[in-house]
Symmetry: C2
DNA sequence: TCTCGCTGCGTAAACGTTAACGCATGCCCC
DNA sequence: GGGGCATGCGTTAACGTTTACGCAGCGAGA
């Protein structure tokens, strides 16, 4: 039934075969394949031609067994693969590629906790190090234990329980302050927040930035102005509806990510209000779609690709045994002014 | 400067060390670690306890060198990681996990074509097989060549040039017909299409489905009603604007993916028209956000997780040397009725 | 002509693990 | 009490590649 072609029936080429075809020893083929070692140019060319013709590729396992590095970095991520991960992984890839490293994607589906622990136990040491992109304090215990034993590890976007574990993230606190400061400058005096998931580090930090920014100008705090969301569009819509039901709705809203900001936008328009005339909105993240909402969303940009790049670079240093200049790196956010913010009515 | 802990300074544990600690030979430790082989329960327990205490993990390279399989599947994907990939990879993961396989993510950034070829040449055979998620006929030549040589390969969502290469995708053609048939049943007689990227297989097939559905009921075709997009929100907005500028705009629009459908929604609302009263919209994909647009989007659901699962399962069969029941699998789409379609005015 | 040094290549150990093989040991059954 | 068999474990070859070492051949300088 199968149409699978098998010109050389199941027999894969080894370096020995290439050596035989070239009439040399395996050592010489190895020298031709690598750049180092003394070899006559003519011999090298001949061998490489045969390699090209036969399509010979070296066995990675043997290679890394003798080289004592696998050239693989594992990237641990929670089950959801979204814009956030998409951007970060791009940066990771940019740093890893030139260094000759590949990405082993490890998806941690929540209901596999036990199986995961088990797998962690039995896990062969496949990679030279790991990048953790798990926003919450999920049960990454096994990996942290490995770290204690010298397994290179960098955490992306949240501080792990162990302060010794290197991490890199955007400055959520500063970013939130930037957002609120912008609204204050425009003259807004009634600014609400739709928070992110407060079980995540980023969610707590953004809320803290919002509060500090208001406290700094001596603004009164009303409990009503803090509505809890969880970063999902649905939670953003719900939160916005609650804010609109207030006797005196806010003139500006800081939504802690772009998904919730977009949902809030829709709710406001549905209610017959105009943006930014009636209500101003600031988001957070600057996801690709933020420039394409109507009106285009003013938001705080996280340099997600930089985050990935920096984290990967730090990991490569750890793998090479080099000391880290900085164990915890915080990258700057930037306010991106578009059209959802304006003067209060 | 580094805070990296190194309790056992750079010395990783080997099976020999465990054997010494347990007072047995390496063979016995191996038998304790694997399930097979004759070993006294007491000895096994003692060894496993030591493994647990020391945190010993076996060297993956040595393991796969002797076992002649790496337990890794490479997933090749273009640079953009979006909802589409996010869903497919979930299915892939579901199939691969239980089988003990990991995912090696290979991001093919366009401007690295040459480097990629080079890397392909030098590439160590890291994985047992590959899954290709590249919508266009990009230069996947090197991998296809490997396939000719017996490297297991499955293409996701487009037929490769070589009909012998196994593939799996949704039935774009049937899905498009479903969408248009639904609009016809509602009574629409002026139905436009915003096409996807016509350099992609999916884009061409969806257009074909639209045309056939109309031809089947003998509807006249107007060139004006086919507006070319490229799956991006921006192209969807542009296309919708062009359609609205027509003397007699269509009463229904089939947008070839959800991104463009959402953008079209915004454009229509901006123009002061009501959905679905003035214009009906059908999308394609059923991405997570489709249920959260206002109004919620009627769309054609692609079973993306199933696609991933099926492709991965086929690949595992190939790796195991089992014949494939079906070389090209087409999965059914389903119309998801929400609130953007209604009777024509 | 002899020696020295360099060049090109073959040889074999090493990387860390598995699994086939074989050898004690102890038990059962006749 | 002895033959046979099952059990538990040690020994070692093998997996495919790199690399340190060593040796032959050759050209150059004295």
């Amino acid at each position: 039934m199968s149409t699978r072609p098998q010109p050389e029936p199941n027999e894969r080429l080894h370096i020995k075969d290439v050596a035989r075809l070239a009439g040399v020893s395996t050592g010489t083929v190895s020298r031709a394949l690598n750049k180092r070692g003394r070899i006559a140019p003519a011999t090298r060319e001949r061998i490489l031609r045969i390699v090209e013709q036969t399509g010979f590729v070296r066995n990675a396992s043997a290679l890394s067994l003798v080289g004592s590095r696998t050239g693989i970095v594992e990237v641990v991520v929670t089950s959801v693969i979204d814009e956030y991960f998409g951007q970060v992984i791009l940066g990771i890839n940019q740093a890893l590629r030139p260094a000759g490293y590949s990405i082993l994607l490890r998806l941690h589906v929540p209901d596999e906790e036990r199986e995961r622990y088990y797998a962690g136990q039995l896990s062969r040491r496949t990679a030279d190090g790991a990048l953790l992109i798990v926003p919450k304090h999920v049960n990454e215990g096994e990996l942290l234990r490995q770290y204690q034993r010298g397994y290179p590890l960098v955490v992306v976007d949240h501080r792990s329980g162990d302060p010794a574990v290197p991490s890199v993230s955007a400055s959520h606190y500063e970013g939130a302050r930037q957002a609120v400061a912008h609204l204050l400058e425009l003259g807004h005096r009634h600014i609400a927040i739709i928070t992110g998931d407060l079980s995540e580090h980023s969610g707590r930090e953004r809320l803290r930035g919002y509060r500090e920014a208001l406290a700094q100008v001596g603004m009164p705090r009303s409990g009503e102005d803090v509505v809890e969301g969880d970063y999902s569009p649905g939670s953003g819509a719900d939160a916005m509806r609650r804010l609109l039901r207030q006797a005196a709705p806010p003139t500006a809203v800081f939504a802690c990510n772009d998904h919730m900001a977009r949902a809030a936008l829709d709710v406001i328009k549905e209610a017959g209000l105009a943006i930014p005339r009636d209500i101003s909105i600031v988001g957070f993240d600057d996801f690709p779609f933020a420039a394409a909402t109507t009106p285009p969303l003013t938001t705080v940009r996280q340099p997600l690709d930089d985050i990935g790049r920096v984290a990967a670079t730090m990991l490569l240093d750890l793998i090479d045994g080099q000391p880290l200049a900085d164990t915890h790196v915080r990258l700057q956010t930037a306010l991106v002014l578009r059209s959802t913010t304006g003067l209060p009515r």
